[in-house]
Symmetry: D2
Subunit: 435 residues, 4 copies
């Protein structure tokens, strides 16, 4: 868990205290379910008594101390609960295996983390929506390969990012279902000393469904889905961050990260304002991707389970969820506070003095009956010459006999009409903001 | 595309011929949609004429030859179509950018590949179902950490693998929707010389929906979802393969891969029969995982697109789909033909002379009122001693005063009842086979 | 930094306190180098005075507090030093950029971590050497594909693992050189307000060499080499762990992990002894692999640097080094304490009743002038029959007319001579233990 | 093997024909070594006779046909050689296992691929050297975070990339040694029917050394080293490519890829010239990285080997070597032909009207006795104001009383002296070009 890159809610969620509290939650849910069984050996009220006895007294350090001896964390935990609750504790864990507790608890924690992330994603989505509406008609040069292509609007860019976040929200809601699955099925998933009915009741109390066919554990394809969905979200946020980093380049200057009062960009160069939040998001995406790769190796375990997945998950469950939650939250703030420079966007749009309208001209020529290849060559010739300096592309075109014999001057000028080029952008923005 | 690890259908799908045919399909679909526009400059019947002119005459080598000069594949293609169809070809690609063709074609090919894979997955699912029914009651020792745990049945194992494949089928159906999306929206997705309505009609003809907000291309989070879903399927097949490899170990010997007449296991050792199909699947899963990692780096492109994703996809789109299709198909055959040795399973189950029933005994002691820790110690003491040889675990238990003062001999023996332990397995198998 | 999977030395190394202490070390080394310059503006003794003023008073929390405002960690640090040392602090960081401090400090810490890891690796190597000598002649069946192949010895296995660790030691020593490189070259590596000579002197004091051509930072291919070397070591340790896991399978039982007094294998099944240390190493290798992948994405930064590598390194520098150090240390203990069962090895060797000698027999037949294909078929026929039960392979061979017409009974029996087969193993072990 | 992204030499190297030819080379080298043994059963001249019989007649299709039946590639190959060479062929493969042939052949092919790559790398290095010399004094604004920092020269940038390629050359030479290792040691590496001396002689003939302790195969940490070294080279080339992509941005325009006569940048926009070669290199780096990840999973195989590594290597050995060779070759051409625009570099350098000299001014103020924090604030205040427009940074500074009370006007102006800032760059370039 990385303090610097996590919100307090996530740090709390993955604390030792929270983990042991969740284990107890699971043990007690099963205990209650057992009490309800007909002819149960477990006396009614047992779970309630243990809950009272343990309330606020679970001592993480004591558990770790016991674990030194038993080298088994769940047994250490149960031993500690027995210290607190006495003889009643014998009714805990009856017929259960450690993974019944661990995997069910992991599901609970992942679901909670999932909900936190959903909240941060929603903030990001809302920020993108607001900025898309605000700039729906702010002209911006569209770029492919980093090179000016044709005009678009800033609103369309935000709307595109918005649509991608919405796709991630839909995927994320599904991922929650994949992971909201526990397991109270015993050592190899056969309910040798339990029953499917009891499992269903205990898990329902915890907000979870049962694994279809458990081994000793819940199947790890579910977790791989989860961590890969995180990597996808991280990739989409990286796309947003990359956008900002490009805008803030000195030569581009179309938008920049908010820069705090008292903030310093560089220890050496007092003039610097750097897109460090975005660069940071870029790096974090690499980390989350790497965690996803590790999770894929956890699917194929030996027989009814080996425990190799465990050390991986101890690291990546907290780290990957905390990072993505942090990323979404930070990206929301970044988009919200982004300083936009429409006038610079306009300047850049005009930088190539009309080159970016070359396609319309070529099409106008084709519509006069010219072959596409020939039309292309005429326009490319003028465009590449204009890039080198001298008369602008528009000026050259208006002088080119091959053009003027085919198109009237008004027809030529219509090709350079920005309004016309952007006539569909409003509809695009609306579509991108639909949920 | 790896000849050795692909079915002919997939090799054909990703051939140059198929690619160019699909490009033409896309260009013509747009051309038809344009013909239908009111006051369209494109004469009715244009697409039909081009189709006729090009039918069976698209020459991949000629296109590559032209590309040497233009260094642009789509332009080379269009030039070639112009060679074949003459002046009519001018009406192709009107207002379109290369990516309108490329990304829409890629979607068509990925959807087709997706359907092939779905077919192979279904074969695998059916094989697992059949074997699960066949062996629903065949006892097998469950193993955690590679060490005997408690009994289960072979049917339960197959049912668990079946449930995982079904989960993958559900995910795969969704993934198809993510990828069944094209784009006829021009250079930066603004429909500068096109319209959303035209795009919708053209794509519908191709079985695709439109990208919500395109840039120059369809957003790459969709493709990352696709390749990651493939990695998940590969991981689940790897789990199946790993299972078989363990069963076929000399000391285990519970099942083995079909061994063909005339087959040779080793050039040096005539006695060998090796689980090479399964090992092969294990290796292929590594490859598919690696492709997924590359796809995640393709999401964050520059502005309205850079083309860095292209080389990656040229490799992984054919390779990853062909491999997973091959894997599912091979795994289906493997499961179908798997030689199962129930008698060896029974022998192994009895190998520890009753140790695997230790949990039931501990629980029986707890139910007499003994503390869990104490009960554990009594049973562990006898179990660890029995592992070293001498009297079996059952024999030792029946002699242990701490046990016999608490449990009657029939109660002790009931703990060693295999039937009882497996009483829920039928229900588990049924649940695992539900779809 | 994962408490559970790290030794105290590494946790201490990557603490906030250590980080800030190292930053100060770097600033002071440069300050001293400046004092030594002819006509330096920096008064002699400045560094010494600052060192005295700051000794034991660097307050990590205070620095983080200042960073809240400046959003720049090095400036926050310098501000704090100024709080402690007053006006003298103005002479720190003169002409330097933050990365001069950060990258040079990182190099120092990575070198120290590297030395810790080298120590743990040496423990592992020594353990493997000891066990290889101990068991140089202990017969063990060699297995390919998990299936019995031909005999080898346990010593040869350990010697092979030893040779691999030695290879890693050689690589690791080289990796140390790659990373023992700092940089005091200013904002874009041009020494605009510094000089190459000053850098060389300052870095020499810190045990580092200068980057050949720095940008704002040390080039990140060096760090990628470092993290990939860690992934390699992790992979080699995983190979050791996998070996142990297979040996400890119930059906194999040839060796097992040390099992502590009071240790419990399972919360449900008192009879269990599981290879959890080895499984844990397997999982950790996945993590280290994933960190290496992230580090490769850090090489290509924008122009003279972007800061996207930083968040990645904040996580993986501590985590990857601590994990590999822990892995090597744990593996050393595991090999050292491994319980070996030579008698079980012998039993397993004889499990196939002679099948594993099939190659020698085939070769003997070839040497009588028989075609290889024919010899193979004769031996395979008998071997596959023997696998099904009935007479052993040796018995069948001695009855097979196609054999007995070509080989005398003594010649046949010589093929089953274990001593002969193992005649080169001593030499192999010696070669594997050479350094 | 990807036709589009490979040079003919590499495609030829990894052809079926070349593979089988190499297998024969290995078999014959061992056969010769056997002939030389005292009292060898193998008649002198056997290898020579087989070589003559097989010369130019190895039929890859026939081998694949036989493999259909045997499901074993080496046996199929040997059967085919027997078809060609008759009874002499019985002396081939004596005491060998398939992996003796396969792994030794793989080493030969990887070494050859390695030499091709070394050649392409050297071309790249030479191109960087030439351009570094050419532009050693061409001023260029250094950028961190994409934002103008301080001046450097284009030559320094090339020299830095050169130094990184030289580091890769050194690593690559070492990697060749890691991989130039074969193995003629039999089924489990014990030389049961061979000898270490024979292996050494046979391998020497092939230009290889023997694996220290082989299992059935050469240890896979060696191959992981190889593929990770490729990923590193790919990462370093990606850095070069990224540099070019940034230079070619419309707003930056400092350098651009060569653009062929007849080349077309976009099917839609005739004005486009895009850095597609560099973007392509960026994508290919992702692929090579992914192959490296897969290779790391190949290290930990079961016991004396499982064959899961094989399918991975069948794909990544040709693909990764061919891609990196292609990348280095393409990058060499790219650097060689790069169009550089020094005048645009100068314009960009002046874009911020002096801001990039802020550090020198701050340092000059510090040297007058001002506190660093205070000096920073004065300079930052003027710099941030100048960014907003109005008087330039230099003009503002010359008017700032807090500055002018401390520095004379000449002292202020000296801070804006480009020559002075670049005084060390010549030495940097020389250092970067040293080998």
């Amino acid at each position: 868990m990385i303090q610097r890159y996590s919100r307090p809610a996530l740090r709390e969620l993955w604390s030792d205290a929270q983990r042991f509290a969740t284990w107890l939650e699971v043990e007690l849910a099963v205990c209650v379910a057992m009490e309800e069984e007909p002819a149960s050996p477990v006396p009614p009220g047992t779970a309630a008594k243990i809950r009272t006895a343990a309330a606020g007294r679970i001592d993480a350090d004591r558990i770790l101390e016991i674990e030194q001896r038993t080298r088994h964390d769940v047994i250490a935990f149960l031993t500690h609960v027995e210290e607190l609750a006495g003889a009643d504790a014998r009714w805990l864990h009856l017929g259960m295996t450690s993974s019944d507790v661990l995997d069910t608890s992991l599901a609970i924690l992942l679901v909670r983390a999932s909900d936190e992330i959903a909240g941060s994603l929603e903030k990001l989505r809302a920020a993108l929506e607001r900025r898309a509406q605000e700039h729906r008609a702010t002209p911006l040069i569209g770029r492919s390969h980093g090179v000016h292509a044709e005009p678009t609007t800033l609103g369309a860019v935000f709307a595109g990012l918005h649509a991608e976040i919405v796709r991630n929200q839909v995927r994320w809601a599904r991922t929650r279902c994949e992971i909201a699955v526990g397991k109270i099925a015993g050592a190899v998933g056969t309910y040798a000393h339990l029953s499917p009915a009891l499992e269903t009741r205990a898990l329902a109390r915890l907000g979870l469904g049962p694994e279809t066919v458990a081994t000793q554990i819940v199947a790890r394809d579910r977790h791989a889905v989860f961590f890969n969905a995180l990597a996808l979200i991280a990739g989409s946020i990286e796309r947003i961050a990359l956008q900002v980093r490009h805008w803030q380049r000195t030569e581009v200057g179309e938008a920049e990260e908010p820069f705090g009062k008292g903030q310093k960009g560089s220890s050496a160069m007092p003039h610097k304002k750097n897109p460090i939040l975005s660069e940071n998001l870029t790096g974090l995406a690499r980390l989350v991707r790497s965690y996803a790769a590790a999770s894929l190796e956890n699917i194929a375990l030996w027989h009814e389970r080996d425990i190799s997945h465990s050390s991986v998950e101890r690291v990546i469950a907290p780290d990957a969820t905390a990072l993505v939650d942090f990323m979404a939250d930070r990206a929301a703030g970044l988009i919200d506070g982004l300083l936009v420079h429409p006038e610079r966007m306009r300047q850049n749009l005009e930088l190539t003095r009309g080159l970016v309208f070359s396609e319309g001209l070529m099409l106008a020529l084709v519509k006069t009956g010219l072959e596409r290849q020939r039309a292309y060559e005429i326009v490319q010739r003028n465009a590449l010459a204009a890039r080198e300096g001298g008369p602008s592309f528009a000026e050259r075109i208006e002088q080119d006999a091959e053009v003027t014999t085919r198109l009237r001057i008004e027809e030529v000028r219509a090709c350079f009409d920005l309004e016309h080029q952007l006539r569909h952008v409003g509809a695009i923005v609306d579509r991108g903001l639909r949920r």
